[in-house]
């Protein structure tokens, strides 16, 4: 092997390293970083999409934003939505993974069917459920309920039920994915530790909370992060099922941005909303970064 000076070696490594990451990073700059800077720039302008105007107006958009009842509503709705989707998804997928992991008959079948919504497009899943959830007795869900004597509400047109429907729709859509991931983690749990605990007389509850859960924690954290990210991706469901209604009860932040930018044509105000959303996401990212370090998620 040729002898190179240490410096030349380092330089060569640096060039190669950067060469490998340049395509991804260049794209990142163009399609993420630059637009992000632009969003900040637009948020201090009065920028109307229909009229094509672009006038600097300082913090006016932000002033309007904080006085906007629909803004606080969308913030609260986003919180409610995530608080609904993430725990439900995690709890059910974890429980299902543990329950199904025992090698029972028909596990393959169950695994198969709960993954079906995952491969379905969000649009298709929303369209089908929009029909199923029709009010009165026109929709199959209410028809089934009427068989057992319950009068189902007009799901998508009543305040609380609309949000519940959207939450359930999203949970069902992503449940299968998380079940599979958890099943992998469950398979990977050290069997001897669990056996030892069982021999020591640990009951089901203790076994779960004190042994299994801690062992699964890294995976749970990762799935939680992915699910929280995914809980933002609810645009198609809301647009097709409720359009932000009724009375704005399913208007979440991401939908409000679209609504302001492309329906009200106020891209300046919408950009201010986007800035707020970005800051929220930034805080969440920082939080999960620090919590990962605490739960000793494996790093290099």
């Amino acid at each position: 092997m040729k002898q190179h000076s240490l410096k030349a070696n380092h330089r060569r490594d640096a060039i190669i390293g950067w060469a490998f990451i340049t395509p991804q990073m260049a794209g990142f700059v163009f399609f993420v970083l630059l637009p992000l800077v632009s969003v900040f720039l637009y948020s201090v302008q009065e920028k109307n999409l229909l009229f094509g105007t672009s006038v600097f107006n300082g913090l006016e958009n932000f002033r309007l934003l904080f006085a906007d009842p629909l803004f606080s509503k969308s913030l609260v709705n986003t919180l409610i939505f995530s608080a609904g989707v993430v725990p439900l998804n995690l709890i059910f997928s974890l429980l299902l993974a543990l329950y199904l992991g025992g090698g029972k008959m028909g596990t393959r079948f169950v695994r198969g069917i709960i993954f079906l919504p995952v491969v379905t497009s969000g649009v298709a899943w929303a369209i089908v459920w929009k029909y199923l959830l029709q009010g009165g007795d026109a929709g199959p869900i209410n028809w089934f309920l009427s068989l057992i004597g319950i009068e189902g509400p007009n799901w998508l047109f009543e305040k609380g039920w609309a949000m519940a429907s959207v939450i359930v729709n999203r949970v069902m859509k992503n449940l299968g994915m998380n079940v599979l991931i958890f099943m992998g983690a469950v398979l990977n749990m050290p069997g001897d530790v669990i056996e030892a605990a069982r021999i020591d007389g640990a009951k089901r509850f203790t076994l779960f909370f004190k042994i299994k859960l801690p062992l699964l924690m890294p995976t749970v954290m990762m799935v939680a992060i992915v699910t929280i990210i995914g809980s933002m991706r609810v645009f198609d469901t809301i647009k097709l099922m409720t359009d932000g209604g009724p009375e704005g009860s399913t208007m979440v932040m991401v939908y409000y941005i679209y609504h302001q930018a492309f329906r009200m044509f106020d891209t300046g105000f919408a950009s201010a909303l986007a800035v707020v959303l970005f800051l929220i996401v930034l805080v969440l990212t920082a939080l999960q970064w620090f919590s990962r370090k605490r739960i000793s998620f494996y790093e290099s």
Partner: protein
């Protein structure tokens, strides 16, 4: 004997419930895709009433549905291929190579991970307009490669490459391979399971994007499937249910079939992600 069956009961109940929740919607969709507009409402039946196979022909004449399918396929393939390739390159470099600002760059990239597309969609709209790329499939192909999906894939691959033993690279270097060669001949093949998971996730994500096509595409020929499915309206905006359901069925069918055929492989890929 009785006790054994009694124990099975809750499990059987669960399976029945899950079947109802997860299979019935699809059953209902297929059944009603074969009904006429009037029969979709009212008492749900287990079988189609009018067996209107013509619905499946009509969807191609009412809209250029075949073209929409191809558009979506093109976008998904290019987007996924680009995503996986660039993410593997970057992920490998972040994991195994030393270069200045490596960790800073990686952290920067991760900020894209959690960022919803809605944050940057407005400037992206103006940017694409400036480039003359509005109403083309170009933004739809580029965004999955470089946005949140790209950061996610890079992250996954980097985590994987960190676990690859040094010996592989050492051996390759001794064999005289340059870094690109090492990457192509050793690092890619060894990452195939993770590449598969990442590719599957990316493909599904790109196939289903709705906001980006909604904002960037306006001409009918350039629609992708999500836009197409919501466009089966009659003259005055009343959706033509039977056509919409037939189209939805068709849009799901291929992925469903592929999934059912390769179920074991897909499951393994997902389970592997969990193992990590």
């Amino acid at each position: 004997m009785n006790r054994k069956y009694l124990k099975q009961a809750p499990y059987a109940l669960l399976v029945a419930l899950l079947t109802l929740l997860f299979v019935y919607p699809f059953w209902w969709m297929v059944v009603n895709s074969l009904n006429s507009s009037a029969e979709i409402f009212g008492v749900p039946r287990l079988l189609p009433t009018s067996w209107a196979f013509s619905n499946y022909l009509d969807i191609f004449t009412v809209q250029p549905f075949a073209r929409h399918y191809l558009n979506t396929l093109a976008v998904a393939i290019v987007g996924t291929a680009g995503n996986v390739l660039l993410a593997a390159l970057a992920g490998y470099a972040f994991a195994r190579m030393r270069f200045p600002l490596r960790n800073a760059a990686f952290l920067l990239l991760l900020t894209a991970l959690m960022m919803p597309i809605e944050v940057t969609i407005i400037p992206l709209f103006f940017q694409m307009r400036g480039w003359g790329a509005l109403d083309t499939l170009i933004p739809l192909m580029l965004l999955p490669i470089f946005g949140s999906q790209g950061a996610f894939s890079t992250f996954m691959l980097r985590q994987f490459y960190v676990t690859v033993p040094n010996e592989l690279e050492e051996a390759a270097r001794i064999d005289g391979l340059n870094p690109l060669g090492i990457f192509l001949k050793i690092m890619l093949p060894v990452a195939v399971p993770v590449l598969s998971s990442v590719a599957i996730l990316a493909f599904i994500a790109v196939w289903n994007t709705y906001l980006e096509p909604l904002v960037f595409i306006s001409s009918l020929e350039n629609f992708t499937l999500p836009l197409s499915l919501t466009n089966f309206n009659d003259t005055y905006g009343l959706p033509q249910w039977h056509l919409q359901l037939a189209a939805t069925t068709l849009s799901i069918l291929p992925i469903m079939v592929v999934y059912l055929l390769f179920q074991q492989k897909v499951t393994d890929a997902m389970v592997n992600t969990g193992l990590k």
